[in-house]
C-alpha cells in the first residue's frame, strides 16, 4: 500500500538538494510548524508536495536549542546535575540517570544497592508517562481527542507519585551523582498500586476505543512502514526497531541498574507500521507497569541511598571517556562523557533517539505519504525535539 520505490519521483542531487524546478507550478512548499497543531513539540517540517503527496521533506530543528553541551562545560560535575533533566521534558529521568552513571563510572564511585532500585523505579515510571503521552498524541493525530484526555489524566496520577517521591512533577532532579536523593515515602507502594490499577483500567479503554477501532486501523495499518534494511543505516532503536521484529532492548541486551534481577522479555512486533509501533508501545507500557510492581516487591526497604561524595564544590574527575546508555521509551538514550582531570566535563554529548528518528529516518519515510498522514507518521516515530538539538 505504501510505495518504497522512488524511481518515478524527483531524485536528490549529490549535495542533497532536490532535482526539481520549484517554479514549475507543479510543486508546493508546505510548512508544518513550529507553530502548528500537527507537530510534536517545537520543531518544523518543510514539505515539498505534489498534489497531496509529499515528494520531499526537510526537518527543521533548533527551536529549543539552549546549548546544554556547551553550558555543561562551564559547570562543575554537580552543577550539571540540575540542568541535564531539561534536555528531555517528557521523560527527563534518563538524562539524570545517564549523566549520573557516566560521572560515577569515571569518578570510580559505587552507589548503594537501594539507589539502584529506586533509579530503576523512576526510569520505569518515566517510561509510563512518556508512553501515555504518546498514546494520546498518536490517537490525536488521527483526530481521536478523547484518548489524550484519558491518558493525560492517568499520567497526572503518575506525576503525583513522582511528586511525593522526588519533590517535583516534571523536572525531578532526583537521580543525583552518588545515588538518589531520598528513599521512598511511607505508604508509597500502596498508592502506586492504586495508580497502576487506574492506568490499567484506562489502558483497557484505550485498547477498545483506539486499537480496536476501524478508523484507527484504516489509518494506521500498513502506513509508515519502516524497512528493516534501514535499521542500521538510520540508526533506529527502541520500539521503532522492535516493531520491525528486532528484539533489541538495552534493558535486556546490555543490562544496567537492576534489570538483570527483573523478569521480562523485550516486546516486539512484526509489521513495522504505525499500528504495530503503537501496539508495541502499548504492550511495553503494560510491561513497565509490571516492572514497577516487580521492583516495589523485590527492592530492599531500607539502606543508604547516597554514597559518600567528595566535596562537590571542587570535585575533579581524572581524564577519561565513557558512554552510558539506557533504553528510554523512544529507544537508545546515551551520554558520552569526556573528562580531562579538571572540575568540569571536557565534553558531554547527549545521544537522544529522536536525533536520528526525526531527521534522517523521518525525511526518508515521509516521502510518498499523504499530507494528512504526515502528523501521524511523525508521532508514530515518538520523537521529542528538545533531545535532538539539546
Amino acid at each position: 500500500m505504501f510505495e518504497l520505490d522512488r524511481s518515478q519521483y524527483p531524485q536528490k542531487k549529490a549535495d542533497g538538494t532536490l532535482d526539481i524546478d520549484l517554479t514549475s507550478g507543479k510543486y508546493l512548499k508546505l510548512w508544518q510548524g513550529p507553530q502548528h497543531p500537527g507537530i510534536t513539540g517545537n520543531m518544523a517540517i518543510e514539505l515539498t508536495v505534489c498534489g497531496d503527496e509529499v515528494v520531499d521533506a526537510t526537518t527543521h530543528v533548533g527551536y529549543l536549542h539552549r546549548g546544554f553541551e556547551k553550558l555543561m562545560e562551564r559547570r562543575t560535575f554537580m552543577q550539571c546535575f540540575p540542568i541535564v533533566c531539561r534536555i528531555c521534558v517528557p521523560e527527563p529521568d534518563f538524562n539524570e540517570y545517564c549523566y549520573a552513571a557516566a560521572v560515577e563510572e569515571l569518578a570510580g564511585l559505587e552507589i548503594p544497592e537501594l539507589a539502584h532500585w529506586i533509579r530503576t523505579l523512576i526510569l520505569e515510571m518515566g517510561r509510563v508517562n512518556s508512553y501515555l503521552m504518546y498514546l494520546g498524541g498518536q490517537a490525536g493525530a488521527f483526530g481521536q481527542g478523547v484518548i489524550g484526555q484519558w491518558t493525560t489524566y492517568v499520567r497526572d496520577l503518575m506525576l503525583d507519585r513522582f511528586e511525593e517521591l522526588t519533590g517535583a512533577r516534571i523536572y525531578h532532579m532526583f537521580i543525583i551523582p552518588g545515588g538518589v536523593r531520598d528513599n521512598l515515602p511511607d505508604g508509597f507502594a500502596g498508592r502506586m498500586e492504586e495508580t497502576l490499577r487506574e492506568i490499567e483500567s484506562v489502558l483497557a479503554d484505550v485498547d477498545r476505543v483506539m486499537f480496536h477501532n476501524a478508523v484507527f486501523k484504516k489509518r494506521a495499518v500498513g502506513v509508515g512502514v519502516i524497512d528493516t534494511a534501514w535499521l542500521d543505516s538510520y540508526g533506529i532503536t527502541g520500539p521503532n526497531a522492535r516493531a520491525a521484529g528486532v528484539a533489541k532492548d538495552v534493558r535486556k541486551d546490555q543490562p544496567y541498574l537492576v534489570y538483570p534481577e527483573l523478569d521480562f522479555e523485550a516486546v516486539t512486533g512484526k509489521d513495522s507500521d504505525i499500528y504495530t509501533r503503537a501496539d508495541v508501545r502499548r504492550r511495553d507500557l503494560l510491561l513497565s507497569l509490571d516492572l514497577i510492581r516487580q521492583i516495589l516487591a523485590k527492592m530492599p526497604k531500607t539502606g543508604a541511598v547516597m554514597t559518600k561524595l567528595p566535596n562537590v564544590l571542587h570535585w575533579k574527575i581524572p581524564r577519561g571517556e565513557t558512554y552510558v546508555r539506557g533504553e528510554c521509551s523512544r529507544g537508545e538514550y546515551g551520554y558520552y562523557l569526556v573528562t580531562d582531570g579538571s572540575g568540569y566535563p571536557r565534553r558531554v554529548n547527549v545521544r537522544g533517539p529522536s536525533y536520528t528518528h526525526s531527521i534522517a529516518l523521518f525525511e526518508r519515510m515521509v516521502i510518498n505519504a499523504n499530507i494528512s498522514d504526515v502528523a501521524a507518521l511523525l508521532v508514530s516515530l515518538h520523537t521529542y525535539p528538545p533531545e535532538i538539538e539539546r
Partner: protein, 600 residues
C-alpha cells in the same frame, strides 16, 4: 478489521456514568507534596552567611548581601542570600550544600507578579506567605555534598608517649591532607577570626592543588611562624569554620603544618626572596619570641637592620621555654627562626636588657626599639604555705626542662590550674616521673569544672590518656606542711559554682568537702605576668600605662615615640596574636622610619 472494530469504540460511552475526575478547586485543594521543592525559606538564626549556596548555584541565582540588623561577627559574615527567581530552577542544591541547614524549601509554589523585578527576595528577611509552611524539601540526613568528618591525624599511641618527649602528632600524609583540604568550602569566614588574617582558604586550595610552593608563599605573606603555628596555634579560626555546624571544622592548623612540612627550608628561603635594599635604619627588638621575631622578619625584609636581644640561650620565647617538646619540637622552631635570620636578622642570645645592656643605650643606638618581652613570670595563688621551696611555678619549671637543667623529680606532685600551661607542666613532669620511677603520680586541680577548662579539649583528652589525675572544681586553700617543714600536699575545697547568675566569675565553695592531694611538689600554673623591671624606674615613670600594661596606640607604639611594644606582654598570651602584633608594629615602625613622600 471486523464489525467489533466498529462497535468497540462505543464502549467509551460508559464514561457518561462515571464521576468526573476534575479537581473542584485546584487553586486551594492541592498543596505541594511533603517533599515538594517549593519556594525558599531561610532560618536567620542558623544562617552564617558563608555563601556556599551562592557558590554551588549553577544559575547564578543567589547574591550575598548585608541585611539590616545582622552585623558581621566572628563566624557569621552578616550577609544573607538573596535569591533571584528569574534564575532559580528549584534544584535545591543550595539546600543540600547549606553548611548549617538553615536554608530549606517550603511546599508552596504560587507566585504571580506583573513586575518582573519583584522576583528577587531574601528568604527569612522579606516576609512571605510560605515562611511558616511546615512541609517542603529537607535535605536527607545522610546526604551531604561533602565529607563532614575530619581526616584523623595519626598520632603517637598514649602508651608510647608516657616516657617520651617525641612529638605526638605525626602530621598528615599528602593523601590525607588532600582529603582534609577537599572538605573546605572556601567561604573565608575564618580569615576575620585569625588575628593575622591569614589567607586560609587560599593556602588550603594550595594543598588541594598540591602546589606547596604557592602554599608557603601564602603562609609567609602573613606569618613567619608556620612551623610553630602549624603545631600549637590556638586555631580559633576553626571555631569560625562553616564546616563545624554540621560536622568537624576543617583542620586548618594541621594543613598549615602540612604545607610547611612539604617544602625544604632552603626552598622556603628561596621562595620568600631576598629582602629589600638596606635603608640604613636600625631597629632593636627585645625578646626573640613570636612577636619580636615577626616584627624582625618584616622589618628586615623591608631593608632595615634588625638586632634582637634575647635573655635566653635560644630564640622562640614562650614557644620554646613554655611549650613542651612533645607539642613543639625544638628543631621545628629552629627552622622558623633560621628562615628569619636568613633575612639578615641578628639575634644576640644571652643578652638580658637591663642587665647586659641598658634601655637608654638601645634608645641611643637605634632608630626604634620594640619591647616584646612576653609573660615569663609565674603568678602564685598566695595561699598559706605557697612560699615553701617545693611550691614551684610552672613557667620556671618548664624553662628549666627546656634548658636541660637537672630537676629533682618528685615521686608525686600536684598541679594547680586548668589551662594549657597546667597541662604542659603536668604532662612534662609525668614523662620525667615515668623516666625516673616508671610510674606517674600527678594530680591536677582546677577551679573550673571540666566544661569550662581553659585548656584545649585535646590537651585534656591527651592528659587523661597519659594518666594525669585531673580533679576539676577544686579551690586551693593551703599547701600543707608538716612540723618538719616537709611539704605534704595541697588542701582544696569543692567549688560549688563558678559563675554567678549574671555569668560573672564568682565561685562558691563548700568548706565541708575538703581534700588533701598528696604531693612532694606543688606547681602553680594559674597565670603569668610580664617582668617589666628591665625598663628602669625613669622609663617606667615616663611611660603611660593602661590598666597594668604599657599603653600603646592601635599600631603598638608606646607614649615614647621611639618605643613600640608587642606580643603577650601587651596583648596577653597567644602565639598567633603575637604574630599579628609583630606585623602591626613592623608596619608602624616602617612608616615612622620612612620619609613621608616615599610612602605617599
Amino acid at each position: 478489521m471486523s464489525i467489533s472494530d466498529v462497535l468497540s469504540p462505543f464502549t467509551a460511552w460508559k464514561n457518561l456514568f462515571r464521576d468526573p475526575v476534575t479537581i473542584k478547586d485546584p487553586l486551594n485543594e492541592r498543596p505541594g507534596a511533603a517533599r515538594y521543592r517549593g519556594f525558599h525559606k531561610n532560618d536567620m538564626d542558623k544562617c552564617i552567611g558563608c555563601g556556599t549556596c551562592e557558590t554551588i548555584c549553577q544559575n547564578g541565582a543567589i547574591d550575598m548581601l548585608p541585611v539590616d540588623g545582622i552585623p558581621a561577627v566572628q563566624g557569621d559574615s552578616g550577609l544573607r542570600p538573596r535569591i533571584d527567581y528569574g534564575r532559580c530552577c528549584w534544584c535545591a542544591l543550595c539546600v543540600d550544600v547549606c553548611m548549617t541547614g538553615s536554608l530549606t524549601m517550603s511546599n508552596e509554589y504560587k507566585w504571580v507578579e506583573s513586575d518582573p523585578d519583584l522576583f528577587r527576595f531574601t528568604p527569612g528577611v522579606d516576609k512571605k506567605y510560605w515562611d511558616n509552611a511546615e512541609l517542603g524539601y529537607q535535605r536527607h540526613d545522610e546526604k551531604h555534598l561533602m565529607p563532614v568528618a575530619r581526616e584523623e591525624m595519626p598520632e603517637l599511641h598514649p602508651e608510647a608517649r608516657l616516657d617520651s618527649f617525641v612529638e605526638i602528632v605525626h602530621g598528615y600524609s599528602i593523601a590525607q591532607a588532600k582529603l582534609e583540604a577537599d572538605r573546605c568550602v572556601s567561604c573565608g569566614l575564618c580569615i576575620a577570626t585569625c588575628p593575622a588574617h591569614m589567607a586560609i582558604p587560599d593556602y588550603i586550595k594550595a594543598v588541594r592543588d598540591g602546589d606547596y610552593e604557592r602554599g608557603v608563599q601564602l603562609l609567609y605573606a602573613t606569618n613567619p611562624f608556620s612551623q610553630v603555628c602549624g603545631r600549637v596555634c590556638t586555631h580559633r579560626c576553626e571555631d569560625s569554620c562553616a564546616a563545624r555546624h554540621e560536622g568537624d571544622p576543617i583542620a586548618i592548623r594541621w594543613l598549615k603544618r602540612h604545607i610547611i612540612d612539604q617544602v625544604p627550608q632552603e626552598k622556603v628561603i628561596e621562595l620568600i626572596g631576598k629582602p629589600a635594599a638596606p635603608t640604613g635604619k636600625k631597629v632593636a627588638i627585645i625578646g626573640a619570641g613570636p612577636a619580636g621575631l615577626t616584627a624582625a622578619f618584616d622589618l628586615a625584609r623591608l631593608g632595615h637592620a634588625v638586632t634582637v636581644y634575647e635573655a635566653q640561650a635560644a630564640g622562640g620565647g614562650m614557644t620554646r621555654y613554655g611549650i613542651p617538646e612533645y607539642r613543639l619540637p625544638y628543631d621545628a622552631l629552629d627552622k622558623d627562626i633560621a628562615v628569619i635570620t636568613a633575612m639578615g636578622v641578628e639575634i644576640k642570645y644571652n643578652h638580658r636588657v637591663g642587665t647586659d645592656i641598658a634601655m637608654q643605650q638601645l634608645e641611643a643606638d637605634y632608630d626604634a626599639v620594640v619591647l616584646a618581652i612576653g609573660l615569663h613570670q609565674g603568678r602564685s595563688t598566695r595561699i598559706p604555705g605557697s612560699d615553701h621551696p617545693q611550691v614551684r611555678k610552672a613557667v620556671d619549671l618548664l624553662r628549666q626542662i627546656t634548658a636541660g637543667e637537672t630537676i629533682d623529680v618528685p615521686k608525686s606532685m600536684v598541679v594547680i590550674g586548668g589551662g594549657n600551661v597546667a597541662m604542659d607542666i603536668a604532662r612534662s613532669m609525668a614523662r620525667l616521673q615515668m623516666q625516673h620511677y616508671g610510674e606517674i603520680r600527678v594530680t591536677l586541680t582546677a577551679l573550673e569544672d571540666k566544661a569550662h577548662f581553659l585548656a584545649d579539649p585535646v590537651e585534656i583528652k591527651e592528659s587523661l590518656e597519659e594518666q594525669i589525675n585531673i580533679l576539676d572544681s577544686r579551690g586551693p586553700q593551703a599547701c600543707v606542711i608538716d612540723d618538719n617543714g616537709k611539704l605534704l600536699g595541697l588542701k582544696t575545697w569543692k567549688v560549688l559554682s563558678i559563675f554567678d547568675a549574671e555569668r560573672r566569675f564568682a565561685p562558691k565553695y563548700d568548706p565541708t568537702d575538703e581534700q588533701l592531694h598528696e604531693g612532694e611538689m606543688i606547681v602553680e600554673a594559674i597565670g603569668q605576668m610580664a617582668d617589666v623591671s628591665l625598663l628602669g624606674e625613669a622609663l617606667t615613670e615616663k611611660l603611660e600605662w593602661n590598666r597594668g600594661r604599657i599603653q600603646i596606640d592601635p599600631n603598638g607604639r608606646t607614649s615614647e615615640n621611639w618605643l613600640w611594644s608587642a606580643g603577650d606582654c601587651v596583648k596577653g598570651p597567644d602565639v598567633i596574636n603575637a604574630v599579628a602584633d609583630g606585623h602591626r608594629v613592623a608596619t608602624s615602625i616602617h612608616r615612622a622610619l620612612t620619609p613621608q613622600e616615599a610612602t605617599a
